[in-house]
Every structure is written in structure tokens, then in C-alpha cells.
Symmetry: C2
Subunit: 191 residues, 2 copies
């Protein structure tokens, strides 16, 4: 028998992605977003939800572009910080010593020190309530060569990404390898 | 210097949520979705993207309701299986021995054996390409009492959820606790 907890955001876990954009003065800025995820295979798209008053909101509305910057576990403090202060008041690249690099495919900056980058152009904007959802078409993915496996694909053990858990609002690393998708489930086939 | 991998879905990690619905015959069905996430704080909403030909697509379009069923790591084989076969052809509850329970707040079934359940009513539908995105307003969250902490909130170490990593298409458990959100980042404040 389940216990009801009410209509709260307790879905688990979420990403903790860092969203890069150029603000209205042309300065590179980043913010952290957990209300995000992949949303379409073709065209390849992901979504990021941002509240209207955020400094990044106006920036992304204007240039219709953003980057998703995926950190390693050892960069969790930087990721958390990027969600605590506003780019209106502080240069987050300067305070953390991170390096902004101009995107190659879109008009937005990415973080050189993060291992995995997704460059997105905005293809849809949905007003959902206090958050507005940006649908970003993936124009390119960039990775540090050091995190690629021998097939040239991102190696999770090298990237060591992490997640956020709403409710207790904590970060957790990626843990044990449990198995392959479209393979583990064969245990129930032909039963 | 980053290496370009092209416009691929390599954003990491994603959830591996199981979506419950009643099909057009009234039978309970479940499917696995990784293209999903939280999308709005108020009203509390999450999104799940599903391809049009999927058995669950017509079901959710008709009843405008679904559940999100969040598994523990020891249930990864069931989760994977739910994404490998269609409810058109097989009763996935029967083959896995799982128990469907009628949702309390929405017209959709949930899985009794999974520790965390989110009941959602569809409030928006966005056609994005091969995937259609359902925005579901969270009407209730239900948890096994065994996974709650002493404040009555979900305890991540007890739920032990897991993630999917596009690219290598593998499942990984949740790993080490890295710290609290809105706290770790204080390391960069007043610097």
C-alpha cells in the first residue's frame, strides 16, 4: 500500500545541466537547470525549462541558441554555484576560473573545462507556467578527446556525470553499471 | 580542444521511467521512456516523449492520463523489458509478475512493486518530430513507506533509482552522494 505525498515534484533523478548563452550585452553567461531532458530522436532535440525572470531567459529568447554543458562529478561545486547567483550581478566564468568558448554551430558559449557539450538552436518555446520550456535542436555534440572510448563515443566512466534529486535537493554521482539497454530485458522474453 | 561528434543524442544522463496507461481495450500497459524529465515547478509538471506508433501513444491521447513509475536498481531488467516489447502483443504485467493498481487521481494504472509513482494528467501535447511530447501535470506522488526518510520524503539511498546513458545505451545506478544543492556552490561565493 503506497503512501500519498501530494502533488509535489519528486520524480527522480534529474540531470544537472549547465546552460550557456550570451546575454544582451554580449557577455557569456551560464546557469544550472535540472528541469530538462531529451525530447525527440529526429530531429534530435532536448528541452530546458527556465523561469521568465532569469538572466538567461532573455538571452536565449533573443539569440534563439544555447549550449548544454555536462560536468564531471568533481565539478559539482561549480555546477551548483552556477545555479545560485545571477549573471546580472556577477561574471560566473571569472569567479570559477572557467573559460568561455564561442560555439561553433550556434550563437552561444560553452565551458571549455566541461567534458561534454551540446550546441542547440531553439526550435520551439512553450509557456508552461512559472517555467518556459525551450526545445533545442541539437546541432553538434563536442567532447574532450580524453573522455571518448575506442569507438569515439563518450565513455560514461570517464565523463562521470552526476544527477540531481528533487525532494532532498542533493547531487549524486553515477554508480554501478547495471547492464545494456535492449539486452537486460531479454530475461523476460519467451517466458 | 573539443572533438566534434555531430548532431547526435549524447546528452547524459537520462531517466529510465516506466509510463503506465490503460489501452483502448481497458487493459493496463506500461512502456519505458528515457526522453523525459521535469519541466515546470508551478503547476508541477513533467514531460514524456513517445513515438506515434507506440501502443501507449493512442492510450494516453484517449484518456489524457499516465503514471510515471520509478524503479529501484534491482528492477532494471523489468524496466528494460517494458521498452522492448509492445503491449499490443503481450501482457507485460503477466510476463514480469508485476501488479497493476488503478491510479487514485488519474485514469491510469501504476506498478505496485515500484517504490515511487507519479500520477499525471495531460495538460499539453507538442508534436516535435518522430516524438510527441506529453506534458503531464503532477496530481499526486505515491511512495512505498519503506523508502521514506524520517521527514516522510523519498530517501534516495532506499529508492536506489538508476539512469540511462544514450550513446552507449546502458543503465547505471546512482552513486556517491556529492553534496547538497544550493550549498556546494557556496565555495565560490564572496571570492
Amino acid at each position: 500500500m503506497k503512501q500519498s505525498l501530494g502533488p509535489k515534484i519528486l520524480a527522480q533523478p534529474t540531470p544537472a545541466w549547465v546552460i550557456g548563452s550570451y546575454d544582451q550585452t554580449g557577455a557569456p553567461n551560464v546557469m544550472t537547470a535540472a528541469w530538462c531532458g531529451v525530447c525527440c530522436s529526429k530531429p534530435p532535440c532536448l528541452t530546458v525549462s527556465i523561469q521568465t525572470p532569469r538572466h538567461s531567459f532573455a538571452a536565449i529568447m533573443e539569440r534563439k541558441a544555447f549550449t548544454v554543458n555536462i560536468a564531471s562529478a568533481h565539478q559539482a561545486a561549480e555546477v551548483d554555484y552556477f545555479g545560485m547567483v545571477s549573471g546580472k550581478n556577477v561574471d560566473k566564468f571569472q569567479t570559477t576560473g572557467m573559460t568561455p568558448v564561442r560555439g561553433e554551430m550556434v550563437d552561444a558559449p560553452y565551458i571549455e573545462e566541461f567534458p561534454l557539450i551540446v550546441e542547440c538552436k531553439v526550435v520551439a518555446v512553450h509557456d508552461l507556467g512559472v517555467h518556459t520550456q525551450f526545445v533545442g535542436q541539437i546541432m553538434d555534440v563536442k567532447a574532450d578527446p580524453s573522455v571518448l572510448d575506442d569507438k569515439g563515443m563518450p565513455d560514461m566512466s570517464k565523463i562521470s556525470p552526476f544527477v540531481f534529486t528533487p525532494g532532498n535537493r542533493a547531487y549524486y554521482g553515477i554508480g554501478a553499471y547495471l547492464g545494456q539497454g535492449f539486452d537486460l530485458g531479454k530475461a523476460f522474453m519467451n517466458t
